[in-house]
């Protein structure tokens, strides 16, 4: 389960610190990876609470706005996502998710609240990462959002099940 960090080719080069070579990449870390993961989790989460239908309805009813592309298909029907579409998704996901459980029951209210806060933190982090300039305050905000995201993400833990885990659980 826990694969250690291996040594790659860069570790053996002189005057190169492999761990410092990472350059933040919003497209590949946020749009194409984390947004995708979180959408998978949200789908599973909504399915568990029986709100997928409501989610799709809100998704389809999104009005056009300058700089925002209206999604044509429901979320789960799109098979391939481009960075631009994921960027669009980042703009609207919060509203859609907030509207999906329009009247959450007593038992649902708490998990929905937590899920919403988790997504909020990630979206805020993403928005702030795109700022053209930063002050110590904005960086502090970013760190806060990241902490919040990490502390809230446990709500989605059960939906990030890998196939290996699934097989293991089924066997028992």
């Amino acid at each position: 389960m826990n694969r250690g960090i291996g040594q790659n080719k860069f570790h053996r080069l002189d005057r190169v610190s492999a761990s410092d070579m990472y350059k933040p990449d919003i497209l590949h870390t946020i749009y194409l990876a984390l947004f995708k993961h979180i959408m998978d989790w949200i789908e599973a989460f909504l399915k568990k609470h029986g709100r997928l239908q409501a989610f799709d309805e809100v998704w389809k009813a999104l009005p056009p706005y300058p700089g925002f592309l209206v999604p044509k298909k429901p979320y789960h029907e799109v098979t391939r996502w481009q960075g631009k579409e994921m960027r669009n998704l980042g703009l609207c996901i919060l509203g859609v998710l907030a509207l999906a459980p329009r009247h959450p029951g007593g038992a649902q209210a708490i998990p929905f609240k937590r899920a919403l806060r988790c997504v909020t933190a990630l979206v805020d982090f993403n928005m702030m990462a795109q700022y053209r300039s930063h002050t110590p305050d904005t960086i502090a905000y970013m760190e806060d959002y990241l902490d919040q995201f990490h502390s809230m993400k446990d709500i989605f833990l059960e939906f990030g099940v890998t196939k290996r885990t699934q097989a293991k659980v089924n066997k028992q």
Partner: protein, 168 residues
């Protein structure tokens, strides 16, 4: 009774899923470097990844093909330096030619080939590499006329070129 057993099983399942699942993947961790990066280098620009993806083809794959397949990583890193040096050298030769310096005919031939067509400069690289002694003797840069030998040595372009040739 049956429901109870089932509920218990479900609970066990859930506990197991919770125990086995994890958020241990690299993209989750990479976010924590964003803030440090901003502190060190300023804002994160929205750049295109096209350049890096292309570089994989030209710099890594071609470097690998040219390597001896033994300790290839080092050779791949060096091969980019070689390519760069050769490109600089070709440009230097071109500019010398434009200034009217005398270049031996076979060098000219290959120079024309690289500038006129888009063919990979592998062959001419080999030929130019063989002429390393030319550069150190400054034969290549002697212009027609008297006292040009000194001029060639003092030419900054020539010095850069000499340095690059030692890199190869």
């Amino acid at each position: 009774m049956r429901d109870d057993a089932r509920e218990k099983e479900d609970e066990l399942r859930m506990a197991m899923i919770h125990g086995e699942s994890y958020f241990n993947f690299i993209k989750m961790h990479l976010l924590s470097h964003f803030c440090d990066h901003i502190r060190q280098f300023g804002n994160i620009s929205m750049y295109s990844t096209e350049l890096g993806e292309l570089a994989h083809k030209t710099e890594i794959k071609e470097g690998w093909r040219q390597s001896a397949k033994n300790d290839a990583a080092r050779q791949i890193v060096h091969s980019y330096g070689h390519q760069h040096a050769i490109r600089m050298r070709l440009l230097n030769l071109q500019s010398l030619k434009n200034r009217g310096a005398y270049l031996s005919p076979d060098v000219l031939k290959h120079l024309d080939r690289t500038t006129s067509t888009v063919s990979p400069p592998v062959i001419c690289r080999r030929i130019l590499k063989r002429r390393r002694s030319d550069v150190s003797n400054c034969n290549m840069y002697t212009c027609s006329g008297n006292g040009t030998q000194e001029q060639a040595v003092q030419d900054p372009l020539c010095l850069v070129d000499l340095y690059l040739v030692y890199l190869i």
